[in-house]
Each structure stands twice: as structure tokens, then as C-alpha cells.
Symmetry: none
């Protein structure tokens, strides 16, 4: 079954509101095996709405339309759809009564323009709105299911979960599952060429790659008749992919790298401390964004000046004079120094040139050293990163967390 998702509203088309409704609906229906084909956003104009619905009916079985159900003159979705499809729009007394009750409960007067929110296509099933004044509705016409939903995401979602999903579940008899495999340290094209024989769209689903936030994601989508069969197929493909990519995998679905690290630290009873120069606190802040981190993280320092590197992490003055702050040796002394001082199992350090100024021929912008000091020894990695100051700092964080994650595996 194919679907199309239409958003109605100037605020979307003019870019003031991002169309998160469409993404939400698209994700949700795939779990039922309904495949989104196209998303469209049009202005609050009857002809634009009608053209979008007409096109959608050529391509899709289920058509979602969000927005334009409100009380103002530019809320035109129901009118446009009824005129296009030759459906009658009728005022429902019980809906009018509900609307009046709603306003009475809020101690607000109901103005006449609100009344049109109680009018619906004659054959439609009304979908109550528990979070606002605009009910939705759905109906079948010429083999298509048309579903009208309110624009505010909170109202749309509540209605979708309570009324639309159960309705669609009845219509569909397929099981659908997806799995995202997050990878780091490999470019999209290299990754794609490693798993090339698996990439593609098949009868049973698809395997594709996406670029995320400094990551590459492999997405497996599988549909079928039984829960077990679908899960088995996901597991098969996952195994095959991971054989090609093992070292680069950092997590699945919505897991974050830092959460996987904190989980492992807690499991192993390890504590961790940080000393940061170019990242300026971003490594600590990223770890601390994980709830429960207090059982492994107590302290970190931001040592932007040489003097602070000496005072907080015992970096030797001689080292700084001889090889400079951005060097393998300084990164090593920093990581070992903070580990010793904070009495933790692990010490992390970063030192580099984030730019835009400060680069030289020997030490260009983007040169970063990261240090990881563990009970079994210290390792320092040299990175040459590209991008803006912020990107270089963010990539540094991702790199040090990735190296640490591999060590903890």
C-alpha cells in the first residue's frame, strides 16, 4: 500500500514551520508496511490543495492531509477536498455541541467562525481532538483512504495514535521492521562499496546508506507476513553487513555513542576524567549529557593556556617549550596527568588547532592530538580534520569517543 502526505499551510511553505508532521506520519506508517511515496506542502489556497490531492490520488492508496482545519477564513482543507471529490460538507450537531462545551470549560466565548469546525464530509468518520478545537476525519473514496488531521504536531500525533493507527492496522496485513546501524570513521562511498552487493531495494525491503551527524548510517528495512520471519531476515542482513564493517559500528537505532560508552564504563566500574584544550569542555559536556553519568564522571578541566595545562595536568614546561602545546607528547602528558590527579581509571585529553587563525605550515588548522590514558598504557592519535572551528571541535569529540568506545568493547 502506498501513501502520500500533504501539508497545508503558508507557515510551512514560507519556511517558518518545519514540516515535522510529514516525517512523523511517514515513519509511523512504515511499521504497518504502508510505504510513503511523496510529501507535498502547499499554501492555504483551495486550488493548490486540490491540485495536490488530485496528484496524490494518481499515486497513492492512502492520502494524509495535515493542517487547514482551524476556524479562520484561510483554513480551507475540508472545503477544498469536498469540492474536488464531490462530497457534501454537513454540519454535525453533536460536534457543534462538543465545541461549545470545550469553550465553556475554558471559560471562553465561542465565536461564530469556530462553527465551521463542526462541519464534515457526509460519509466521514470524525476523529476527536482531545488537545484542541479542530477534529479530524477520514473516509474512503474510489478505493482511496483520505485522512484529514490538524496541523499542530501535538494535536496531530495524539489523534494519529488514538484513531488513525488502529484504523490502518485493520486495513493492512503485513509486519514491518527497520534497523539503523551507525558507523563512524568511514566515508559513505567507502562504506557503500564495502557492502555494495547488499545495497538496494528488494521484494522483502531495502538496504541503504545515509549520512548522519559525522556518521554514516546503514538502514535495513524488512517487511513480511510474520513477526518471526521479519526479525530473522533483519538479523541475517545485519550479520552480513557487520562482517564487512565490524570495526566501524558504533551503535543501533537511536543509541548514542556517548550513552554506549557510559553504559560500558559503569558495567566495568571504570571512572573517567578529561583535560581539554581545543574542545574546551565539549568532551566532558557530551559525556555529562548522559543520565546516570555521575557514577563514572567526577571532574574534568579545560586548560586553554599552557600555564593551565601545567597546573591542572602536570604537563612539563620543558615539553611545551620543546614541542609546543599541539603535539603528541603534550597530549600524552595531559591524559596521564589528569588520570593521575583525578585518580580515575581513564584520562582523556585533546589539544589542537581549531582555527580559523593559529595555523602554520607545520601545524595547520585542523591538526589535533587526542590522548587516551588507561591502566594498561596511554595512546595518542594524530588527526587532521577539516571544517569550521565548530566542526573541527565536534569531530574531535566524535573521534576521541569512538577510539575510547573501541577500547572498551
Amino acid at each position: 500500500m502506498k501513501a502520500e502526505i500533504i501539508a497545508v499551510g503558508n507557515e510551512i511553505v514560507y519556511g517558518h514551520t518545519v514540516n515535522t508532521n510529514a516525517s512523523y506520519i511517514a515513519q509511523s506508517i512504515q511499521e504497518l508496511g504502508i510505504i510513503p511515496q511523496c510529501m507535498v506542502a502547499v499554501c492555504d489556497e483551495e486550488s493548490a490543495i486540490q491540485e495536490a490531492v488530485r496528484m496524490a490520488m494518481q499515486r497513492a492508496d492512502v492520502i494524509f492531509i495535515t493542517g487547514g482545519l482551524g476556524p479562520t477564513p484561510d483554513d480551507l482543507t475540508k472545503e477544498a477536498v469536498c469540492h474536488l471529490l464531490g462530497e457534501e460538507l454537513v454540519m454535525l450537531p453533536e460536534e457543534l455541541e462538543k465545541l461549545k462545551t470545550y469553550f465553556r470549560r475554558l471559560n471562553r466565548e465561542m465565536v461564530t467562525i469556530n462553527e465551521k469546525q463542526a462541519a464534515f464530509p457526509k460519509k466521514a468518520k470524525v476523529l476527536p481532538n482531545h488537545c484542541g478545537t479542530a477534529p479530524g476525519c477520514l473516509f474512503e473514496v474510489d478505493g482511496h483512504t483520505i485522512i484529514l488531521l490538524p496541523g499542530p504536531p501535538k494535536e496531530m500525533k495524539a489523534m494519529f495514535i488514538e484513531y488513525v493507527l488502529p484504523y490502518l492496522r485493520q486495513k493492512v496485513d503485513q509486519v514491518f521492521r527497520s534497523l539503523d546501524i551507525h558507523c563512524f570513521g568511514i566515508g559513505e562511498s567507502e562504506l557503500a562499496s564495502r557492502i555494495k552487493p547488499l545495497l538496494g531495494t528488494y521484494e522483502w525491503g531495502s538496504v541503504a546508506t545515509y549520512v548522519g551527524n559525522y556518521e554514516v548510517i546503514v538502514r535495513i528495512v524488512v517487511y513480511g507476513k510474520t513477526e518471526d520471519g521479519v526479525n530473522q531476515q533483519i538479523a541475517n542482513i545485519k550479520d552480513k553487513i557487520e562482517k564487512c564493517l565490524e570495526d566501524f559500528v558504533i551503535g543501533y537505532n537511536n543509541e548514542k555513542l556517548e550513552e554506549n560508552i557510559v553504559k560500558r564504563l559503569i558495567e566495568k566500574g571504570y571512572s573517567i576524567s578529561t583535560v581539554e584544550s581545543c574542545t574546551g569542555g565539549l568532551v566532558a559536556a557530551t559525556l555529562i549529557n548522559c543520565g546516570g553519568v555521575s557514577s563514572c564522571f567526577n571532574e574534568g578541566v579545560v586548560t586553554y593556556s599552557n600555564e593551565a595545562k601545567m597546573r591542572y595536568a602536570d604537563v612539563k614546561e620543558e615539553t611545551l617549550q620543546r614541542v609546543g602545546a599541539v603535539s603528541e607528547e603534550t597530549a600524552r602528558e595531559m591524559a596521564e596527568g589528569i588520570r593521575r590527579r583525578a585518580k580515575t581509571q581513564i584520562g582523556l585529553s585533546t589539544t589542537g588547532i581549531a582555527g580559523p587563525g593559529g595555523g602554520t605550515v607545520e601545524k595547520p588548522v585542523g591538526l589535533v592530538y587526542i590522548g587516551i590514558s588507561l591502566p594498561e598504557g596511554t595512546e595518542v592519535y594524530k588527526l587532521q580534520l577539516s571544517g569550521t572551528r565548530q566542526e573541527i571541535r565536534e569531530k574531535t569529540v566524535k573521534n576521541i569517543l569512538f577510539k575510547l568506545y573501541k577500547k572498551l568493547k
Copy 2:
């Protein structure tokens, strides 16, 4: 002039990526007087891309297409557009060379599938991509401007600002200027009611409010025949708005609050240090994101445990036992302690309950104290914030920087 914005990519249509590119482009082009008519998102299929472009050419003068410029077999935008419009797709040796250089600089091997990123419609102007491997392009055909941009928002935006905006500005025969006034510490509806007589769309442009990243933004757009006239009008409106909002204004256009703070610190010859608990390094990291910060920031500490608060910032054990870590007195001792120890003019502190666990009736999740210690004394502010762990931490950073900014003005 009318525009249509097409996004190509399964990740968008399947709802895994929200189409923020469309919103960004829609907002940006309106400042040139180009009006978005419709947004469409289609799958990585040649026929779907072609149908969208064909429809767009019936409705719009300028057509933006984002995504599908990558190296993989499902990146089909250039091929689809060229086949539809009868344009020839040719390999450009100089682009191929650039691509090879890019991979060489990253010490990565360039795989054969990357080569197609160097092929472009024969008549197109290539738009360099400074943040990734996929260049964009634009060309004129039958009175339409077709603009192909990469999908990753960072790459798209950089290319849009550097190459697309200047190109479109030339095509449009008017002078446009816009000014964003960023405000903090006031809600959108209160701000709107303060400047209500100015809000609206006029013959000369518009004044509108938007909600940004914990900010409210007032955008003034003015168009006219002469540069001087337009600038004069912008200045007039800006004055009127600022009379209503003075205290809440934190910057203009792309200026960041932290950049304005660092600028002022440097002007005044002030140095600054930080001690952070709930924000875990995010205050330091935000300041350090400003180039040139090394002349005012030397060090900061992340004191997540009580013991670290005592050791790094001389917080008294008695204080921690009596009123706890999340308290006005602890925040005060932290700010004063780091200021004294780091020998800086300014010391900043944060301590709070970011959640999701750890809240009590007396000290609920979202309770945060921020301290600012200056030569003339220390002030502590109590905040009650809402949102996720990350949001509470980000709002804390914004609040302490806002308070500091007001003190430095």
C-alpha cells in the same frame, strides 16, 4: 518571481530526516522577493524526480532541488534532470581533479563510484562544495532557473549563502535588506504585543517574529530601489523596535551571544574562568567556540562531584552538607572560588538538577543556580527550567551568558 523546492531522498520521504533544507531555502529567498509556492519530497527514483520537476516547471520560475548528488547508485538527481530536460551530462576533468585532491588531503582512497560527482549538465555553472564531496550546479532552461544543491544541510547552506544568493540577487531587480534582531528572556507573544503596531506586511517589506533556539527573533525585511533608501528604512524600524525591547536584545543577524561577550571581554581587558556542574563544560565550550578567545579565557573546570567542587573551587564542606550542591550558596562559593584561584576578573558557576532523575519536591528537575562573580561583587540567579536533560543544560548556558552580557553592556 515564484519558486518551488524539491527534496530528493528516501531518508526524507520515509521520515528519517526532517526536511529542514526546504524551510531554510523558503525563508531565505523571500528576502529577495522570491515567493515559495510549493515544497515536494520524492524518493530516489528517476521517474519520481522527473515528475516533480515537470510539475514545478508549470508553476515556478526558480526550482531548487536538494539531495541526490552523492556518489552512490541511488543518487540520481543530475541524471534525472538531464534526461528530462534533454541536457547533456559531461565529465569535467577539473572537478575530477578537485575530488582526487580532496580525498588525498584526507588520506583516503577515492573509489570509482565517486567519479560521477564530477559530471555536470553541459551548460551548468558548477557550485563548489567546501564542506563535502558533492558540488552543486545551476543553469537556465526555457526561462526557468534550475538549482541543484547537496542534501546534507551544512553543505547545502554553505553553498546557498556563498553562490546561490549572490546569483539570485543579480536576477532580481530590487535592493533587499533584512535585519534579524535576536532577543532573549521574553516570550514570543509578549514580545509581539510590545511591538504590535509595527508588525505586518507592507509595500516596503515586512516585520515579523520567529522563535529561534531559545530566542525570539524580530525580522525586518525592506525592499526598494536604492541602497541608501533601504538602509535608512531598516535603521528607522530598528530604532522603533529597540525602544520597545532594549533590555532583551542580544545581537543581530548571525552574531552569536558568546561572540558579543568575548568581544566585550577583550575590549575591557577582562579575563574569565568557569566552574560547571550541571552544564558539564558547556559554558566553557560555548565561549571557546569563538575565535580569539585565548586572550580572555585560560581555564575552566567541570566539578560534577561534591569533592571536585571543594578541591577545584574551595566550596566549603559545611556549605555542601547544610544546603546541598544545588543551592544559592554553593553557586556563590563556586563562582568566587574559581575567580580567586584562576586569578580572573570574572568567575562563572552553574549547579542544578538537569534530570531526568535526581529531582525532589524541594529541588525539582530544572532547578538551577547560576553565579557570576565580578570585581564589584557576586550575583547568583535561581532558574526553574523545563525540558529534557539536554534542553535544561542548554537553557542554563543561554541564561548565564545573557546575564553576563547585560553586566558587560
